[in-house]
């Protein structure tokens, strides 16, 4: 194995995304440690990861054990104060040369970096769910990010056999923002009576999209779609084209969250 841009990786946060990112890094030959403040979360992650990577991924539940990392990838829950607090503590524990990356999809990388003494080494590395199956990673440049740090992150993404794109730190970066009309216009077509949801899904599949927008929202989870759309809308100072649709909110309020609850836009009798 040739040497990698970052040899020792600590993934902070042992949820679905953290575990997936650890798999991608370990599969490419990096030395990975998965860290989470919750020992139960660490135990669960270890159970999942040991099947394929036994002995090749280490686990810890203390921030102090991350001192050896060249790159820390944070994948804790999507809340600004939690991320800022973690980055501020990582910043004081780790040498200023360690690159600190956040996997946020909707929060400001700039605001996270601002809580550190060396914000130029903070960068966004946005992996998509599921990380093992998605080839794209958004490398997000905050206002403070050093150009060399972003370039090294992009090189590292290539070493993971993923495709990097470079995005400026703005709400939703590229994918979340630019794909929004696919979902929003479907809701507007529905409420203005252009077509019913089955017809809309069918038309867009025949038009070349891999799945219809209502099928996609049911698969992703309506609560997640609603939260993301709302974050985007708020991030752009209530720009009307990102405004979440009332239909979506009502379904979320009703607990019709998609496949996972057996009902969303469609009824899913096979699950839930």
């Amino acid at each position: 194995m040739n040497s990698m841009t970052f040899e020792r990786i600590t993934v902070f946060g042992a949820g679905t995304m953290g575990v997936g990112i650890a798999q991608v890094c370990a599969a490419a030959g990096a030395r990975v440690t998965v860290c989470d403040v919750s020992p139960e979360a660490v135990k669960r992650a270890q159970k999942t990861l040991d099947a394929e990577f036994k002995g090749r991924i280490e686990f810890c539940s203390s921030l102090l054990e991350t001192a050896e990392a060249d790159l820390v990838i944070e994948a804790v829950s999507e809340r600004m104060e939690i991320k800022q607090d973690l980055f501020s503590r990582l910043d004081s524990h780790l040498p200023p040369t360690t690159v600190l990356a956040t996997n946020t999809g909707t929060l400001s990388v700039t605001a996270i970096a601002a809580k550190t003494r060396f914000p130029e080494r903070v960068c966004g590395l946005h992996f998509f769910n599921p990380p093992m199956q998605t080839r794209l990673v958004e490398v997000v440049k905050a206002r403070q990010t050093d150009g060399g740090v972003a370039d090294r992150c992009a090189a590292f993404v290539r070493e993971l056999e993923r495709e990097p794109i470079l995005a400026q730190d703005t709400p939703g970066f590229v994918v979340t923002r630019c794909s929004r009309p696919f979902l929003n216009e479907a809701l507007h077509c529905l409420d203005s009576g252009v077509a019913d949801l089955r017809t809309i899904d069918e038309i867009l599949r025949k038009g070349g999209f891999p799945e219809g927008p209502f099928e996609q929202m049911d698969r992703t989870g309506l609560d997640a779609v609603y939260a993301t759309t709302r974050a985007l809308w708020e991030g752009f100072f209530h720009e009307p084209r990102f405004r979440p649709h009332l239909i979506l909110r009502k379904l979320v309020e009703a607990g019709y969250l998609g496949r996972k609850t057996g009902r969303g836009f469609y009824e899913h009798r096979d699950v839930g």
Partner: protein
């Protein structure tokens, strides 16, 4: 509204002799498909494109400058003006006057609703709007948009015509661009705004959406294929219809169209070809 409830008698209305009206870039590929499917296609193109239409070379009959359309010469008309709504209105008025009153007129409603077009016509019963995403040589789906006045025969003839060309149909409510063109053009417009705001390069934006969302094309490439002048026309049609901020066309899209960089057919759009 559902796509599958159009009752048609199989051979009720002949659809063999087609008059295809509009700019050659759209009329030519559709005439080729019609010819391949066994129809007789005649082209009526703008005067300055008549020579090029003869060159198109698949043996289509091309109406000469000033040559009149006979009232019983055609079974069906497909009118394809998209970006130039004045030319569209003029063509429709001419066709209505020239053709026998039972000849259905199918008109491309990418940038305007059927109702808006039919309002000016004496026999709105024969007008069927349809949305077909360019390039028309590749389109696999036509969305039919009848108005409450449109006759069942006219809708049936439209449905049979498209299906004979291997183009699936769905019936949707009358709106500029239907579902597919509206969705794709809004994606192109959002990506154009992201380019304008320098969020990422055009190449990276397209790559991101292909890899993360599995779209068949990156939206900017897709816009270049469709023609940015048509994308702009769809956005302007949506903006005129709904007066919603979300349909405001991106300034860089307008600028590209204005300087003639309207996509693949012109050799330059968001990307060079």
């Amino acid at each position: 509204m559902s796509g599958s409830q159009i009752a048609i008698e199989p051979e009720f209305y002949p659809i063999e002799r087609l008059l295809i009206v509009g700019p050659l870039a759209d009329a030519g590929p559709l005439a080729d498909r019609a010819q391949a499917a066994g129809h007789h296609a005649t082209l009526l193109v703008p005067d300055e494109e008549i020579a090029a239409a003869h060159e198109w070379g698949k043996g289509h009959r091309v109406l000469l400058e000033g040559e009149a359309v006979g009232e019983d010469d055609f079974d069906l008309v497909v009118e394809l003006h998209c970006t130039d709504l004045a030319a569209k209105a003029e063509a429709l008025l001419y066709l209505e006057d020239a053709l026998a009153e039972n000849v259905p007129i199918l008109t491309l409603t990418l940038a305007v609703s059927t109702g808006e077009l039919a309002r000016e016509m004496l026999i709105p019963e024969r007008v069927v709007g349809f949305s077909l995403l360019p390039p028309l040589g590749d389109s696999a789906l036509a969305e039919l948009m009848p108005t409450p006045h449109t006759s069942g025969d006219a809708v049936g003839a439209a449905k049979r015509l498209f299906e004979s060309l291997g183009i699936a149909t769905a019936q949707v409510g009358d709106s500029p661009g239907g579902v597919l063109a509206r969705t794709v053009c809004c994606l192109v417009n959002e990506c154009a705004l992201a380019v304008q705001e320098k969020i990422a390069s055009a190449e990276d934006i397209d790559k991101a959406l292909r890899l993360a969302e599995n779209y068949p094309y990156g939206p900017l490439t897709w816009g270049d294929r469709i023609g940015l002048d048509r994308v702009l026309a769809v956005m302007e049609g949506l903006f005129a219809e709904y007066k919603e901020e979300r349909y405001r066309p991106a300034a860089n899209l307008k600028q590209l169209v204005r300087v003639g960089h309207s996509g693949m057919a012109k050799g330059q759009g968001f990307f060079g070809y």
